[in-house]
């Protein structure tokens, strides 16, 4: 696959990842809140690859992580899940409807 050997695309995808603490929170939220009714992803397999930092070597898994972040942002109350810039608006109501949109956009753009 061409994407698999494109370090530029992988680097660009990784740059859209949230901070590490938020990553862990979003993963927990996804598997607790979203991946319960229809278990799309196998959590032990996913977490094993995640702990090995496989997303730094494989663009497909990095995209999978982005999708997980996009879906889990719905359940997070951390302002960092909002697109960049919106969380810095002080004194205004944050538009939580846009939470996780930038992950979704990066995912659709990367794949």
């Amino acid at each position: 696959m061409q994407n698999q050997i494109s370090p530029e695309l992988l680097r660009k995808t990784l740059s859209t990842f949230p901070p590490l603490d938020l990553q862990q929170t979003l993963l927990d939220l996804y598997f607790v809140r979203h991946n319960t009714v229809y278990t799309l992803l196998h959590r032990p397999t996913f977490m094993r690859l995640w702990n090995d930092k496989f997303y730094e070597r494989d663009i497909w898994f990095a995209g999978t992580c982005l999708g997980v972040f996009a879906l889990a942002s719905k359940w997070s109350d951390d302002p960092r899940v909002l697109p960049s810039g919106e969380e810095k608006l002080q004194g205004k109501d944050l538009d939580w409807r846009r939470s996780g949109f930038h992950y979704c956009k990066a995912l659709l753009g990367a794949s």
């Binding site: 397999t45 496989f54 898994f61 939580w96 996780g100 979704c104 659709l108």
Partner: protein
Amino acid sequence: MRKSSPSPYRDARRLPSPLTDDDDSDFSYDSDATDSPQDTTSASAFRRGLVLPAIENVEFKLKKLSLNGPTVLGPVAERQESDILLRYHGVSGGIESVRDAFKLQRHFNPHARHGVPEGEQPMKRPVRRSQFWRPTPVSNNNVYT
């Protein structure tokens, strides 16, 4: 006659006493509490983030990504993908994983009937037990008379 003795758990099982006017402080409604965006309840989660079509789109993308990359699909999703391939592409037998199945799917021409490339014979399907069953032929002779 059975002697009734007070149960040691009686106090623990006893229902709470009716509330008096002085007790309602624990159940007071907090009028200042609003449904703020910081709520993580499910009710507020439905009003934020991706809507359902976008969620389905992302989940479909997750499926494809996890099939191309490391297989992280759960067993239900994996079985569904296999069933789809079996049903629509006539691929049966020898599929140990969804990844192999999708390799076969890419190999086949999706526009051809049963997903078989032109000039090739379709793969032989396994005979199911139900295929041995034949309906009883209907005749004019009533065997019960």
